[in-house]
Assembly symmetry: C2
Homo-oligomer: 372 residues x 2
C-alpha cells in the first residue's frame, strides 16, 4: 500500500477541478499570468530600456524562466538567498537590489561571483571595501551598483556628489566592477493620480540619471541605471537614461495595485473553504493570517457573491454574509484576491496552476522564506 504520510498526496492530479483542490490553496490563473508576462515583455520589446523583473513577488524559478524566455535581461531580487535559488535554477544573471553586509554572506557572494553574473547594491564605503576585499581574496570580481536615494528616504546615498564619491571608490577597487546605479521611486508607486505619479517619477529619475551623467563626466562608465516598479513601468520605462526596469508585481497584481487602473490582469487568488456556518449572517473559512496578509488592507473576497471577508484570525477567516444574496454551506469554496501579492506568496509553498477551472500544474515557490 502507499504510505499515507507521503507528502506527494498533497499534489492533486492534473485535471482536478478547481473546487476540489485542498484548501487553502494559492491559485495562478495561467492564461492571465501569461497575458501579464507578454504585456510587460511586449512593452519593452523595442525599447532601449530593458526588463529585469523582480523575483520577490513570485519567488518561483518557473516564472523567472518564463520572464527570461520573453526577453528579460536577468532577474532582480532582494536577498542573497533568493539569488542562490535563481542560480540553482540556472538563471545566472541576477541583481540583488539590496545591501549584503554580514561577513558570512559577503564571503558567499564572493564565491558565487566566480560562477555567475551577480550584481549587488551598495550605499556604504566600508561595506564596499569589505566586498572588494572578499572578492579579491576569492580571486573573483563582484559587480556593484550604487544605490541612490531618489526620494524614498530608506537606503541609498544621496544623488549627485555623494553617489559620485562612492562610484569613484568602486571604480578603483580591486575585486569590484562598478556597473552603475540603482534607484527605487517607491514613494510614488501607489500614487493613484497618474499625472502626479508621472511628475514624481520625472523628479526622481532626473536625480538618478543626472547622477549617472555626473559620474560619466569623471570618465567612469555607467552601464546600468536601474529603477522602476509595476506602478511606474510606462513612465520610468520611457525615461531617457534609464537602462533597466525592476518591476515585480505585474505578474500577479493585487487589490492595492488594481487601484492604479493598469492593464495587467488579476492572476493570483486564494481558494478557501467554508468550514463552519453557525449563524446566518456569518460564516468561517479555513483561511486566516497564516495564508493571507493584511499589510495592504483586508483581502477581497470575489466569489461567491454576497460574502465579504471581514476579519482574519490566525487559522480562520471571518466572513460576513449578505443573507439576501448568499446561503453559504459547509464545504463551499470561496475565492479571495490578496491585498498584497508579495507578502501573501511568502506564506505559501506552492502554486496551483489553473486553466479552464482545472488544475494543470503545481509549481514550487522555491524562494519562499529566503530572507537571508
Amino acid at each position: 500500500m502507499i504510505n499515507p504520510l507521503h507528502d506527494n498526496l498533497y499534489y492533486p492530479s492534473t485535471g482536478t477541478p478547481k473546487h476540489r483542490l485542498p484548501t487553502p490553496a494559492l491559485l495562478i490563473d495561467l492564461p492571465l499570468l501569461e497575458f501579464n508576462l507578454s504585456l510587460m515583455s511586449g512593452y519593452f520589446l523595442n525599447k532601449s530600456v530593458k526588463l529585469r523583473p523582480h523575483f520577490k513577488t513570485h519567488k518561483c524559478p518557473i516564472i523567472a524562466r518564463k520572464q527570461m524566455e520573453r526577453g528579460a535581461i536577468g532577474i532582480t531580487c532582494a536577498k542573497l538567498s533568493e539569488a542562490e535559488v535563481l542560480m540553482n535554477a540556472g538563471i545566472s544573471n541576477v541583481l540583488i537590489a539590496n545591501q549584503v553586509v554580514d561577513p558570512a554572506k559577503i564571503s558567499r557572494l564572493a564565491t558565487l561571483a566566480g560562477f555567475c553574473n551577480i550584481i549587488v547594491a551598495v550605499d556604504d564605503l566600508d561595506n564596499l571595501l569589505k566586498i572588494g576585499e572578499a572578492a579579491h581574496k576569492a580571486g573573483n570580481t563582484i559587480q556593484v551598483v550604487i544605490e541612490v536615494d531618489v526620494g524614498l528616504q530608506r537606503s541609498g546615498v544621496q544623488p549627485g556628489k555623494p553617489a559620485l564619491s562612492l562610484a569613484k571608490e568602486a571604480s578603483k577597487l580591486k575585486g569590484i566592477y562598478f556597473s552603475g546605479l540603482l534607484g527605487y521611486e517607491g514613494f510614488t508607486m501607489f500614487e493613484v493620480d497618474r499625472g502626479k505619479r508621472h511628475q514624481n517619477v520625472q523628479h526622481a529619475m532626473n536625480a538618478l540619471v543626472s547622477t549617472a551623467e555626473l559620474i560619466r563626466q569623471e570618465g567612469i562608465p555607467v552601464e546600468i541605471v536601474s529603477a522602476g516598479g509595476t506602478g511606474t513601468y510606462d513612465m520610468t520605462g520611457e525615461f531617457s537614461g534609464i537602462t533597466e526596469l525592476e518591476a515585480g508585481s505585474y505578474v500577479f497584481m493585487d487589490t492595492k495595485y488594481n487601484q492604479l487602473g493598469l492593464d495587467f490582469k488579476q492572476a493570483l487568488s486564494l481558494l478557501g473553504t467554508v468550514v463552519s456556518v453557525q449563524r446566518p449572517e456569518r460564516c468561517i473559512i479555513d483561511a486566516g493570517m497564516k495564508v493571507l496578509t493584511t499589510d495592504n488592507g483586508m483581502p477581497y473576497l470575489i466569489k461567491p457573491d454576497g460574502l465579504k471577508l471581514e476579519r482574519l484570525n490566525e487559522e480562520h477567516g471571518i466572513v460576513g454574509v449578505n443573507t439576501e444574496k448568499a446561503y453559504p454551506e459547509v464545504g463551499m469554496c470561496v475565492e479571495i484576491i490578496p491585498s498584497h501579492a508579495c507578502t501573501t506568496v511568502n506564506l505559501h509553498d506552492r502554486y496551483y496552476i489553473i486553466q479552464d477551472d482545472q488544475l494543470v500544474d503545481v509549481w514550487e515557490i522555491s524562494g519562499r522564506g529566503k530572507s537571508q
Copy 2:
C-alpha cells in the same frame, strides 16, 4: 571543492557566536524555552487536568517531542497537514482543534485514523456524517470532539441542547467514536485584568462543563473536555470538569502575551542586521514584513538600547535612532521580540538555538506553511 550552492552552507557550525549568524534569523534561547516547558508541565504534574499543548505556535516536532517527554498526553494542532507532520515525527496522539471538511482531506483523515490516534473537531451534522462514512469505508474509526462556542462566536455549536443533539448523533454513527467536547475561550485570552479574565473563564467553562454533564446524563460518556490557552492555563486548568488544556504560546511568549504578567519567559527573538545608515536619526535593518508580523502591533526592538523599530517595509525594517544613546553602524546586530510568535514562526524555515550567546543547534520548523 564544495558546491557553493549547497543549502547546508546556511547552517552555521555549532559554537558560532550569535552575532555572526546569517540574518534575519529566528532565535530560541534554549534555557528559557526549557524553563517555559518545565514551568507548564510542572503545573499540570499532579492535576487531573492534563496538558495537550498546541503545535500552531512552534510548528516544530523537536519541541513537540520535548513536550511529550515532559508528560503531555498528546499534541493539539490546527490543520490536518500539521497533524501529518506530527505523525511523521512519531507523535501519534493528535487532536485537530478545527473542522476538516474538504472531501479529499476527510478521506485522508480516514486513512490516517488507521495508523494513529487522531481526534478531530466537528460542529456540523453533515460534516460528521461525511467523516463517519469515510471512516467506515476505510474500515477505521475516527474520534471526534464536538466544538462548542463558549463565547468566541466563531466556530462551534451552542452549549447545551445543540451540542447534546450533535453528540447523540456522533455516539450512534458507524466510523465515529464520540470522545467529548472542545471549547476555546479565546475572547478573554488577552484580557489584562486578571480578575475579569478569571470571571470570563468561569462563565465560559461553566457552559462547556455543564454541556458535558448534560450529555453524560443521556448515558453518553464524555472523556475529553478540552479548552484553554496560555492566558488562562491556571484558571481553565483549575476548573473542575476540564480534562485537558491546549495552550501553545507559553513556549515562546511575545509582546502581546507579555502584557499579562505571566511567569513564562521571552524565549523567541528575531536577529537582524543594520544594512544602511544614511541619516543619524534612522537606520535600516534587513528584517521586514517577510520575517516579522504586525497583526499584534509593531515588534519590539530590545537590543541595542536607543533603537526603536518604527515601520516595516517588505524587505526592510525602518528603525528610529535616539542619537543621544545609539550610534548604529552598518553590520551591527539588532534583536527584536515578535509581537505575535505564532504568525512570526510561520514565516521561518528554521530556528537557531542559542545558549550562552552561541549556536548550539538548528531545528527545522517542519510545520511551517502547513495550512491545509
